[in-house]
Structure formats: structure tokens, C-alpha cells
């Protein structure tokens, strides 16, 4: 089992548990029984979003999705984003508690604040070291987006 990692976002320390897998959508994945994967936001994503107050899914449970297909939308006090499928597969269930109160993403992002379960292969996911390396390269781009220098839409 890999050790936990800490990625420094400026002075903020984003904790990355070593026992999880990670996707480029800044989601973690935890293998469940029956070939399912549970996904949630990494501390890096939660840090960018800050206080989440709106979460919506644009597909029904049981839908097959392609990699990076748009599946939802999230809004926080400071940011908003479309949400994309971290892997190809079938989205089986969404965390119902979050739909009632999405602040669980902030309160317990690696636990009760999970987002959805999928039936999918973990083959394309990264381990914690791979994700940390990905964050290191993505950090510049993140700064540019935060600075609003990119025309997004």
C-alpha cells in the first residue's frame, strides 16, 4: 500500500490517500465489491471549488457513459464546472445524500462525500504517485484558469 501524499497548492496542502486510485477529472476511485468503483472529488478539486452548494446530474443511474462524457454540473461559492465521466462504463448510482446537501463534498470528501458508483475497469486510473505527477504538470494550467486568462464557455 502506497503512503499518503500531500500536494502543495501554494500554501494549501491537498492530502491524497495512498490507497485510492485517481482520474484526470480530479476524482478518486475506490474499488468496491462486485467490480464497482466508487468515485469522489480529490482534495485538490475540493480546494478549487471551495464551498459546494449545488450539484446536479444530467444522466439517470444505469446509464452507459463514454470517457469524459458530460454527466453533471457543480456550483460552489466561487466556481462552477461541468462534470465529466472519469472512465468509460456504467454509472450505477449517485450519492443521494449529496443531492439533498452537497456540502458533504467539503465535509468528508474521501468518505461520506462520495459522488457516484460505476461499473468500470480501473485500468486507466492512476495510482497516487501518478496523480501527484499529473497535478504537478496541471498546476500551471490551473493557475491560468483561476486567473481568468482563458476564454472558457
Amino acid at each position: 500500500m502506497a503512503d499518503d501524499c500531500v500536494f502543495l497548492m501554494g500554501k494549501f496542502e491537498a492530502r491524497l490517500p495512498g490507497d485510492l486510485l485517481y482520474a484526470r477529472t480530479h476524482m478518486w476511485a475506490r474499488p468496491l465489491e462486485g467490480g464497482r468503483l466508487r468515485f469522489g472529488f480529490s482534495a485538490y478539486a475540493v480546494r478549487l471549488l471551495q464551498d459546494v452548494y449545488f450539484l446536479e446530474w444530467r444522466i439517470e443511474p444505469g446509464t452507459d457513459v463514454a470517457l469524459m462524457e458530460e454527466i453533471g454540473f457543480i456550483e460552489s461559492s466561487k466556481a462552477e464546472s461541468s462534470l465529466y465521466a472519469p472512465v468509460a462504463g456504467r454509472v450505477e448510482a449517485f450519492n443521494a445524500e449529496l443531492l439533498a446537501d452537497p456540502s458533504g463534498v467539503n465535509a468528508d470528501g474521501y468518505g461520506a462525500g462520495w459522488l457516484f458508483d460505476m461499473t468500470a475497469s480501473p485500468a486507466d486510473l492512476m495510482d497516487v504517485a501518478g496523480y501527484e505527477a499529473f497535478l504537478t504538470t496541471a498546476w500551471e494550467k490551473t493557475q491560468r484558469v483561476i486567473k481568468g486568462k482563458i476564454n472558457e464557455g
Binding site: F12, H26, Q50, K78, A79, S82, I150, N151, E152
Partner: protein
Amino acid sequence: MSRTRLTVVLSQAQGKNPARRALEESIAAALILEPGLDVSIVPHLYDLDGQHTGRLFLEGVAGDMVVLSWLYPRAAYWLLDRAGVKGKPGETQLKPEDEEEAGERAAEEEKPEPPQGIGAVDVPDRWIYTLDLRDHSDHRAFVDEVRRIAAECQARRAAASPPTMVELNVPQPAAFTPEQLMTPPGRRWYPVIDYSRCTNCMECLDFCLFGVYGVDGLDRILVENQDNCKKGCPACSRVCPSQAIMFPDYKTPAIAGAPVGAVTGLKIDLSRLFGGDDALKMAADERDRELVRDGRDAVGLTVGVPKRQADKPAGPKDELDNLVDALDDLDI
């Protein structure tokens, strides 16, 4: 119409939204009897082409002017500039309803870097104020602001040296009937350049393959053939490295001309970080779609794509630190 009066132009919303029409009518009714004001109503500013009576009317206004429209102030100002209706940008004190509480705090926060564009040319000595009708649902907010602007303009004129010439020979603009002004225009779609941000880098000219852009006599970038533009396509605005290109009717605020650079106000869109396509890819896809629709070949990222945008160097590290710290400070 005298230069000593303030011209107030109400630009109507497209369509027949009753709430919007009611706001327009309440404002007009309150201002029409106000002394010192000339109030006129025209259709949606963006849709007026060079032949439209409403546009001819705007071109004929000589003095200070307030334009109320369903557009971001920045978009309305530069749209008028392109139409030859030029003036110094008047600063409104009207703030969007939901930002008023945060106003004081925002004023203390870091201001965005000042834009370093090439600026407007041939700006006459008069002021144009552009107000966004979406900022308030109560007409009184607009009426009060127009009164404030009227007083501000009057004070400014009084402070300036007295006119040496009586306005006897000033050509008067043609008078138009309200019906002429309100001839319904067709919907239009074209980019509007914010020259306070535009650096004349010509990347839009290289990227657009539909002949929308050209240059003027001073070799400045110009939206030369507005109606060559492809309806719904905002690709060039994504390519612009300075966020100087606006599509005033586009759904996304950043492209429609919302205030730029402020971390407050506008929310940061993280889609690109969470797996969405990057802006350049989106722009190329949008352009390909229009090329194919025209029976031409898609070109993807092979034509007119800025090379240097791919890996823009980040700023110094300490500045990045500050940014993240600034996010901390923004916590509610």
C-alpha cells in the same frame, strides 16, 4: 436636440418577455417628463444594422448619452464604438443587485490588471454611459442613476470653459418618429472588439476563415464584415489571448462581455480542469462545424492556430502563491 441636454436611449430586449418590457416601460414613463432629458426607445442595440433608423438616430446624437440595454455595459459601449457612436466611457455607480452587499469588500480587494489594449480612436469630447437592464428589477434604480448621471454631466459642462460659439449653426440631427425608430430589425450575430483590451495581435484575423475580420486605414483590427459571421459561433473569442472579443448575445458571461479578470463577481469556470476540452480545441471544433455547413473541408487545428498560446509561461511563483492565498481570503 441640444448639446446641453442628456440623451437617454432605451434599447429594448429581443422577443416579448413581459417582465423586460414592463421594466423598459416603467423607466421610460418615469424619465420622459424629466426636464433636461431627451428619451428615445430603439430595438435591441446589437440587431441594428447601418441602415436602421434607430442606428441613424444614435449616430446623430451629439452630446452626452446614457444607453440602457439588455447587454453588459462593456459590450454595449464597444458595440456603439464600432457603429461610430463614440464617446468617453462614463462610469456608472449602478451595481448588480446581488453584488451590492459585496460591493465594499470587493472594492478593497485586488483590482484586476489594467488592460493594455490599443484603445479607441477619434473619441469626441462627450460621454457615453452604458447601463445593463439586467442589473436591477426595480425601475427606480435606473431612474435614480440616470438622474445622477444627468447632474454629473451638467456639473462637468459647467466646469468646462464656457462655449465660445452659440449653437446656432450646429447641424441638428434628423428627427425620427418613434415608429421609425422601432422598425423591427432582424436578428444579427457578430463579434464586438473591446479595444481597451485588444493588442492588435491579429490572431482572430488568422483564425476566422469566413472573412469577418479586416484592418482599417490605421492597420488596426476591425470587424469588417459583421454579417459574414456564423450565427452561434464564438470561436474567435476563445482564441483571443486578451479576452477582447465579445459576442454580446452569447450564453456564457465571459464571452458576452461580463467584467473581466475579477475573481469576485464572475465565478471561475473549472470545466477545463475537470475534463472539458480546452478553449482552443472548442474553437477549432466550432469553426469546423461552420466550415462543413458551408460545404468546405474541416481544418481542425491546422490553420490559423496561435502557436504561442499552447504553453503560455506562468507568472512568478510568489504571484501564484498570492492567488491561492487570495482564494482563502474570499471565503464567506
